[in-house]
C-alpha cells in the first residue's frame, strides 16, 4: 500500500512539476503581456469614449475584466496559441487569457487528474484526442454544449461531419478547432537523384510500395530509406480502415494483415528503418525525416507547420525540398480517403466563467479562429476553399500544385472513434503491434490475439 501512495505521490509530483516546471516560464510571459494590454485599453476607454464602450458592452455582454484559464500543451513549440489569443483579446479587451501548459506526453492523464479534483479552476480545456475526450465525458467533468450551440446558432455542418463522430448519447461536449489529416510527406531531392517520378495524389498501396522500393539504397553508410513508419500503431494498422468498411474498435482486425505484411517485408529488405531500433532510441519522426535519407513518410498534417518553421530557422537542412501527396489508398477506394484527428476545446463543469469561456470557444472554433489557424500553417477543423488557399500560400509551403491538392480530402476517418473502452482497446492493439513489428509473433497469431483481446474488452 506504501507503493500505492508512492505512485500517487509520484503522479502528483508529475502534475505539479509539469505545471510549475514546464508551464511557468512560457505561461507567465504572455499572460503578463495581455494584462498590460488590457489595462491600458480600459484606461483609455473609460474616461474618453463612451460610445465605444457601449458598443463593446453589447458585444461581450460585460466589460468586467475576466481571466480565462486555458489548459493546453507545448506552449513554446506551438505556433497558434498566441495568435488566437491576440485575435480574441483584440476584440474583447476585458478578457485576459492565461495559458497553463500541462505538457504533451501525459496531457490527457494530467488533465483528467486535475479535473477530478475539487480545486481545478480551468475555464477552457483543450482536448487532445478522442480517448481522452471519452474518458473525461465518462467522468462527467465536461459541460454539454448542445444548448449553447442551439442558442447561438452555431452551424455544425461546417465541421464536415466530425462533430457527429464525437457526439455521445446525443450530447456534444467539445467543439473542434483543429483537424489534422494524414498525408504522405516526401523528399523531392531523393527522387530527383534516383531519377524516379514523384509520388502522386492517386496511388494505391501497391504503387506506393513499388515506389518506395525503387528509391531505396541499402549500401551501408549511405542508406536511403524508401519509407518510414513511426512506432505508433496508427502508421500501419489504420491504413486498413480507409475503405470505410472497418473501424479500429470492431473487434476484428483481419483487415490489417496486408499492411503488416507490406511493412514487414519492407523492414526485412531495409526499405524502412528497423522498428526495434526506432523504439529503443526513441527517434522522433521529425528527426528521422530531417536526416534527409527518408524518401517518404506517412504522417499527420501537423508536421507541415513544424517542417516549415524548422527549415526557416535553418535547423533542418537536408529535407528543404519537400512535398506532400494524398495518402495512398486500397484498390477501389477513392483517393483522398484519409485518417484524421481532431483537437477541440471543452468547458469543464467546474469552470468559474462559463459564459466567457463559451464565447472564446466559439471564436476559436469558428470562422475567425479558423483563419488564424490557417495563417500559422495549421488546418482548422472548419475548412473550405479559402482556408486551403491560405495554408498553401504560406511562405515555405511547397509550391507545386499536387501539394496543395493533397490537402483536399474525400473521406476522413477518425483515428479512434468515440468509444467507452478506447483506452483498453489501445492497450491490446499496442501490445500486438509491438510484437508483430519486433517479429516475435506471426501476423496471423497477433491478429488472432487482437481479436480475442479486444472482444474480451468489448464484452466487459
Amino acid at each position: 500500500m506504501k507503493k500505492r501512495i508512492l505512485s500517487s505521490l509520484l503522479a502528483m509530483t508529475m502534475v505539479v512539476a509539469s505545471i510549475t516546471g514546464c508551464g511557468a516560464a512560457a505561461e507567465q510571459a504572455p499572460a503578463a503581456d495581455t494584462t498590460a494590454q488590457t489595462e491600458t485599453k480600459t484606461e483609455e476607454a473609460a474616461p474618453a469614449d463612451n460610445t465605444q464602450a457601449a458598443a463593446e458592452t453589447t458585444e461581450t455582454a460585460s466589460d468586467e475584466p475576466v481571466t480565462l484559464k486555458w489548459a493546453l500543451w507545448d506552449v513554446s513549440s506551438t505556433v497558434y496559441y498566441q495568435p488566437l489569443i491576440d485575435a480574441y483579446t483584440a476584440a474583447h479587451p476585458n478578457v485576459t487569457i492565461e495559458m497553463v501548459d500541462l505538457g504533451s506526453t501525459d496531457y490527457s492523464t494530467v488533465l483528467g487528474t486535475q479535473l477530478s479534483g475539487a480545486g481545478s479552476d480551468f475555464d477552457v480545456v483543450t482536448i487532445k484526442d478522442v480517448p481522452g475526450y471519452v474518458s473525461l465525458v465518462n467522468k462527467g467533468v465536461l459541460e454539454p454544449l448542445n444548448d449553447r450551440i442551439a442558442a447561438d446558432g452555431v452551424d455544425l455542418s461546417l465541421y464536415n461531419g466530425v462533430t457527429d463522430q464525437v457526439t455521445i448519447d446525443g450530447s456534444l461536449y467539445e467543439l473542434p478547432f483543429r483537424s489534422d489529416i494524414w498525408v504522405l510527406f516526401y523528399n523531392k531531392d531523393i527522387f530527383d537523384k534516383a531519377g524516379v517520378d514523384y509520388p502522386t495524389n492517386d496511388m494505391t498501396w501497391e504503387e506506393y510500395d513499388k515506389l518506395a522500393r525503387s528509391v531505396t539504397d541499402t549500401t551501408p553508410g549511405a542508406e536511403v530509406y524508401g519509407s518510414h513508419y513511426h512506432t505508433w500503431r496508427s502508421t500501419i494498422q489504420l491504413d486498413g480502415i480507409l475503405d470505410g468498411k472497418h473501424t479500429i474498435v470492431d473487434g476484428n482486425y483481419d483487415f490489417t494483415k496486408p499492411y503488416y505484411e507490406m511493412v514487414l517485408a519492407q523492414q526485412k529488405d531495409g526499405v524502412c528503418m528497423d522498428y526495434a531500433t526506432l523504439k529503443t532510441q526513441g527517434l522522433h519522426y521529425s528527426a528521422a525525416f530531417a536526416q534527409g535519407n527518408v524518401a517518404t513518410m506517412n504522417m499527420g498534417s501537423w508536421f507541415i507547420a513544424t517542417l516549415i518553421q524548422k527549415i526557416k530557422d535553418g535547423e533542418y537542412t537536408d529535407c528543404t525540398n519537400w512535398g506532400i501527396v494524398k495518402y495512398p489508398h486500397a484498390d477501389g477506394v477513392e483517393a483522398g480517403s484519409t485518417l484524421s484527428t481532431i483537437t477541440a476545446l471543452s468547458i469543464p463543469t467546474s469552470a468559474p466563467n462559463k459564459d466567457a469561456a463559451w464565447d472564446f470557444v466559439k471564436f476559436v472554433s469558428g470562422a475567425e479562429g479558423a483563419e488564424v489557424m490557417a495563417s500559422t500553417g495549421n488546418i482548422p477543423a472548419m475548412t473550405n476553399k479559402t482556408i486551403v488557399d491560405i495554408i498553401a500560400s504560406m511562405d515555405g509551403f511547397p509550391t507545386d500544385d499536387a501539394s496543395k491538392e493533397a490537402l483536399i480530402t474525400s473521406h476522413t476517418y477518425l483515428e479512434m472513434p468515440a468509444n467507452d473502452k478506447s483506452s483498453e482497446i489501445e492497450t491490446v492493439l499496442n501490445e500486438q503491434h509491438d510484437l508483430i513489428m519486433n517479429e516475435e509473433v506471426s501476423v496471423d497469431d497477433a491478429i488472432a490475439a487482437m481479436n480475442e483481446g479486444v472482444q474480451a474488452v468489448l464484452a466487459q
Binding site: M1, K2, K3, R4, I5, L6, S7, S8, L9, L10, A11, T105, D106, T109, G112, T113, L115, S116, S135, N138, K139, G140, V141, H230, T231, W232, D274, Y275, A276, T277, L278, K279, T280, Q281, G282, L283, H284, S423, E424, T427, N430, E431, D434, L435, N438, E440
Partner: protein, 307 residues
C-alpha cells in the same frame, strides 16, 4: 479516607493527562502529516479496493470483484510474474556485486576515493540520462556497441535487448544492478570499517587464509548490514517502475506484457483507464507480498542471530 484517595487519584490522573498532552503535542506535527498524507490514503485505498470508482462519479461497492478481475487479467498476472522474477534476480546479484566492490575498495590502494566515486556515480546520476545512454549502448541495431562486441569478440548473435520480449527483463535487471550497486556498496563499506582489525590479526596469527578470514570474520560481522541491505533491496525491487518505464516504454510510452511490473500496472489502471478500484486492489496485493517477504526475512534474521 476513601474520599482522600479518590482526590489524590484524580489529581494524579490530571497530572498524567497533562503530561500526556504535552507529549502528544510534540508528536502531533509529525503525526498530522502522516495521517493526512499516508494514513488517509492507505485507508482510502483499502476502501477503494472493494469499490468501483473512476475518480469523479459515485463510488459503487462491488465486494471482491476487483480482486477476481485483476487475477483474470493477464496484464496483471504478467506484472506479478515479472516483478517477482525481477526481484529474485536483482536482490542477490546486487548484494554480491555491492559486497565485492566494497571489499575491493576497502583495500589500501591508490585512488580508492576515485574508484568509490566511479562506483557510486550511477546511483546519483539522473535516471533519464543514464537510461538514454544505456539504450544507446544496448541498441538492438547490429551497429550498436554491445552488439558489435557480441558479434566480433564472442562470435554470438546480436540481441535485441530492451526491444525484444525475451531479453527485456535481462536488460532491465542488468541496468538496475549497475545503477544501484554503488549505493549498497557504500553501506557495506561502512559495515566493513566497523569490523575490528584485531579479529583479522588474531586470525592471521592462527594461520587463516584470506578466504577463511572472509568466510568466518567478514561475513558474520556483516550480518546486520546484509540484513538491512536485503530488506531495502527487496522493497525497492517490488516498487520498481521508473527503470522499466525508461527502458521498455519505448517512444510511445507503452510497456508490454513482457516487461510490465506491478507499480506500472497500478499506474496504468488508475490514471490511464481510471479504474481506481482495480488499481487499489493491485496495490493491496503488492502490499501483501512485500509484507510477507519482509516478515519472512525478519523471522530468518532472528534464527540467524541465535546461532
Amino acid at each position: 479516607m476513601a474520599a482522600g484517595i479518590t482526590a489524590m487519584e484524580k489529581n494524579m490522573k490530571r497530572r498524567q493527562r497533562k503530561r500526556n498532552l504535552v507529549a502528544y503535542s510534540f508528536i502531533a506535527p509529525n503525526f498530522i502529516g502522516f495521517a493526512v498524507f499516508t494514513l488517509g490514503p492507505i485507508v482510502l485505498a483499502l476502501l477503494m479496493s472493494f469499490a468501483e470508482w473512476d475518480g469523479s462519479n459515485a463510488m459503487k461497492f462491488v465486494g471482491l470483484d476487483n480482486f477476481v478481475q485483476i487475477f483474470s487479467d493477464d496484464r496483471f498476472t504478467s506484472a506479478l510474474k515479472n516483478t517477482i522474477v525481477y526481484s529474485i534476480f536483482t536482490v542477490p546479484i546486487t548484494l554480491i556485486m555491492a559486497l565485492g566492490l566494497a571489499i575491493l575498495l576497502n583495500q589500501k590502494i591508490k585512488g580508492t576515493n576515485f574508484f568509490r566515486t566511479v562506483a557510486f556515480f550511477p546511483y546519483v546520476a539522473s535516471l533519464v540520462a543514464v537510461a538514454a545512454v544505456w539504450n544507446m549502448l544496448f541498441t538492438p541495431a547490429k551497429g550498436g556497441i554491445v552488439n558489435q562486441l557480441l558479434m566480433n569478440v564472442f562470435h554470438a548473435q546480436p540481441l535485441k535487448w530492451a526491444a525484444s520480449s525475451s531479453t527485456v527483463m535481462l536488460t532491465i535487471i542488468m541496468f538496475s544492478v549497475w545503477k544501484n550497486m554503488g549505493y549498497y556498496m557504500v553501506i557495506y563499506l561502512a559495515g566493513l570499517q566497523g569490523i575490528s582489525e584485531d579479529l583479522y590479526e588474531a586470525a592471521s596469527l592462527d594461520g587463516a587464509n584470506a578466504w577463511q578470514k572472509f568466510r568466518h570474520i567478514t561475513v558474520p560481522q556483516l550480518k546486520p548490514t546484509t540484513f538491512f541491505v536485503t530488506i531495502m533491496l527487496t522493497i525497492n525491487c517490488f516498487k520498481v517502475y521508473d527503470i522499466v518505464y525508461m527502458l521498455a516504454g519505448g517512444s510511445n510510452g507503452v510497456v508490454n506484457k513482457s516487461a510490465i511490473v506491478l507499480v506500472y500496472y497500478i499506474y496504468e489502471e488508475a490514471f490511464r483507464n481510471w479504474k481506481l478500484g482495480r488499481a487499489s486492489a493491485s496495490a493491496l496485493v503488492l502490499f501483501a507480498i512485500v509484507l510477507a517477504v519482509t516478515l519472512i526475512q525478519f523471522k530468518g534474521e532472528k534464527n540467524y542471530a541465535n546461532d
